[in-house]
């Protein structure tokens, strides 16, 4: 087990109203899992991902990563946690516009001592020949590949992906999912993908369904589907 979530809740105060984004969520994640969290927008899945990734604080509850309670971390420790343990992939890629593909990856690897080889990673994501291009010169799929390379090059324990195919067309989306699958299998990275696209759940080793800030289903998938065969 690499991650344990214990009774996490998150409330927002919006004027007079108290909004519950997460309600008493508990969860355990094991090494090498490929987890897909499914849920409609507003179900709390992004909030959960952000809290797991050390980007947000829960209102209540505890999270343990590799035995350490990250919910006790201060800002500095959280920064180090994000730096050394977490890789993020976002829906809108969020590359630095004025850095090339390679430089975007280096931006992340410069932070850590045990980064992977950048050229290898870029080859692996299929961008070996486009390393000197700027984001504006690349397609969405290519940009997302750079984002994935950026996330895994730091050699994180956990790869967190927020709607990684959300702004890509079907074909490109599938390729990105295949890439994530490869990262999961070849690099033995634990991956959490959040999406509202139910089809993507079929490739997961485990699917968590969320609704109104709660995990309503936790399904183990013994036979994950090959991403190339997924359709939506």
């Amino acid at each position: 087990m690499i991650l344990k979530v214990e009774n996490i809740s998150k409330f927002y105060q919006m004027g007079e109203v108290k909004v519950t984004a997460l309600n008493n969520v508990s969860l355990e994640i094991y090494d090498g899992e490929f987890i897909v969290i499914l849920g409609p927008s507003g179900s709390g899945k992004s909030t959960l991902l952000n809290i797991i990734g050390g980007m947000d604080h829960p209102s209540e509850g505890k999270i343990f990563v590799s035995g350490k309670e990250i919910t006790k971390f201060d800002d500095k420790e959280l920064t180090l946690y994000r730096r050394n343990h977490i890789g993020f992939v976002f829906q809108f890629f969020n590359l630095m516009a004025n850095l090339t593909a390679r430089e975007n990856v280096e931006l992340a690897t410069e932070l850590t001592d045990d980064a992977l080889d950048i050229d290898e990673i870029l080859n692996e994501v299929g961008l070996g020949d486009r390393t000197d291009h700027f984001p504006s010169q690349m397609s969405g799929g290519e940009q997302q590949r750079v984002a994935i390379a950026r996330a895994i090059a730091k050699n994180p324990v956990l790869l967190l992906c927020d709607e990684p195919t959300g702004s890509l067309d079907f074909k490109t989306g599938i390729k990105i999912l295949a890439l994530l699958k490869k990262v999961n299998e070849v690099h033995k990275k634990t991956i959490i993908v959040i999406t509202h696209n139910i089809a993507i759940g079929e490739m997961a080793t485990r699917v968590l369904k969320m609704r109104s800030g709660e995990i309503v289903e936790d399904i183990k998938n013994e036979n994950p589907m090959d991403p190339e065969r997924i359709e939506w």
Binding site: D75, F88, F92, N94, M96, E103, N104
Partner: protein, 787 residues
Amino acid sequence: MVVKKLNLRLFRQIKSTKGQFISITLMVIIALAIFISMNMVSDNLSVSLETFYEMTNFPDLFTEVVRIPQSAIEGLESIPGVSKAQGRVRTDVLFKVDNQNEKVRVRLISIPEEENILNENYIIEGEKHPEKINEVAVLQQFATARNIKVGDRITPVIAGKEYNFFVSGIIANPEYIYLMENEMNLLPAPDKFGILYISEEMAQNILGYQASFNEVVIKLDDYENSNLEEVIEDVEDYLEPYGLIRTIKKDNQLSNSIMNQELNQLDSMSVSITILFLGVAGVIIYIMLMRLVNNDRISIGVLKAIGYSNFEVLLHYLKYAVLIGIAGSVIGIILSIPIAAGFTNLYIMYMNIPILETQLHYRYFFYGFTLTIVFCIIAGYFGTRKVLKIMPSDSMKPEAPEVGGRIWIEKISLFWKKLTFSWKMVFRNMFRNKKRAIILVLGISLTYGITMVPLYMSLIWNTLFDVQYKVFQTMDYNVVFSKPFNENIIKDISKIVDSEHIEPKIEYPFELQNGWKKKTINVIALKRDTKVYNFRENEETPIFLEEKGIILSEIVAKNLNAKKGDIITLNNYLPGKDDITVKISGITEQYLGSNAYIDIDYFRSLLGEKDLVTGVYINSEDDVIEKLQDIKYIGKVESNRDMMDTFMEYMDLIIYSVGVMMIFGAILGFAIVYNVTIININERSLEISSLRVLGFEKKDVYSMISKENSIMTILGILLGIPVGRAMCGGIISSVSEDLMTIPLLIEPSTYLYTAIATVIFVVIAQLATMKKIYQIDFMDALKSRTS
């Protein structure tokens, strides 16, 4: 060297905003170059001045007497506080030149032969002192202007008689660093007035001061001492029996007081320009970084998500400001060296301190650098501190749209309804982002102000001279007799000169006293119906000499802290005469010089001297100088025309400095308008793109932004008028000292020209931003949420 990727990003950011980076850096450069060079020049000037005074034993007191025997000088040294006293003979005489029409005057000053004297000469060439009786040491400025060399023969004309002297040396003297005949001259004319140092023996012989002097220069034990006034009083008491005419303290000595005024001006200029330019640079850095951080919200979130710390991200943005500081100060420091050299050369040209040279004071490099960096860090920190608050998780969500709403101007529905859509957008925008609008308006008003100063200054000099020589005093010639005469002498003069008008005057120095405030000035007694002076309280209110009473010039009234109706004392320097008390009947506007005016008959009765005159004023087409200058009883003849001509020669210098100030104004205006407009465009790229999608053309969008800037410019100019007036007021208060008052008379044309210049600066900046608008790819701006 491996560049950190975050730094690489910064460099590319700077590259893509190079217009802004350069314009802000330019202001830092100006601020720093001025700060460092002015401070260095000021230091060089004050140190070399101090050293020169020390080397040459510059006296602390200058006293004029009617006649004091050589033997009485030593007695002065026994007065407690007096360290050394030295007598000399001083007289202004004519100087013979080839051109008959050119009038040149020289001051003959005797100089003792022994070493270690007060007011020592500094050798430029040849001998320090005239060693033989017919030798003369010539002041360098005069020698240069008239091309006089060691070995030349020169000919002063003393009481109509020509004397031949042999030039044994060219020298500099601390009393005439800034060479002016008197405070009425305002500007030096070294080709028209010079100083000749001759031996004591010669001076006493030819000027009729056998074994006696008419001046005593005095060195005190301690000039800064608190009982200075008491020592001066003791000295004056001692000199009283010898016909004390006036005592001048070192502070009020003409050349020295101008030097000190110059130093003060340098200091105040370095402070005000530095504050202005660094201040504006700081404000622009602040708003531009704030905008950058807002635009970069997502990137900031991503950087934090990747694992960059708050501090690292803050530093990343802060470096933009720091790099402006570094670039600006390095270039500013480099530029300050030639600027300092240029200014020093200017001083060397007009002020003769032979030991003055351009020295670099490295500590100012350090001060300037530190000041700039600290300043940029502070401005940058306030601009970027929002970075700390951006939570990585929130940053990915789009920002809530700015609160739009009705603005108060819409309530004026008649007006609002008439506006076209694009004008409505313009007004809404201005009111929605008040901070930016205020900064732009203030910026334009500063531009207006800084542009107004040089325009005002260039015009006011003309006004000043016009008022002084065409309105206030209307005589063509001022004739001073070599000694007081009976009024009958005027008849003689009338026979020699063909004059339209001639009137007598008495001019004597007096020490005016009001309470404990004292000032020594020339009191001029005129006929009550004088036709050559027009006294006035202000432009509308003329005042006239009264039967009993005295009119003071503004400067004198200010110095004495006196007002109309006060009774003041005229401390008499004339031997055997009592002090006089008299009522102030009016204060007259007089820009140049300090004087008091009194009715001639009243004055004669006060002095108990019937029919006395010391000179005449003449209005004439005749060649008065030519006809009068060789006459024995004529001391000097001054022409108003000549004074104005001298002044005109200096207009070149003024125009040059006006140009420099205008460039400063232009840079300031450009930087402010350019940056604020670019920020405006960046901030609204989404809105602009939406308009483009709706079918607005690029030029429509551009014209909308131009309209916004036009309104800001009008507001800025309106606000600029008081700002400019205040700036001009500040400048003249630093200029006006004892020598002159500069009125805050701003011609309507100045306002107009300044407005035109400001509009030009704004238009240039506006044109420079056009590219940015035309470059906005509206599809991209709408689609992309990358940063």
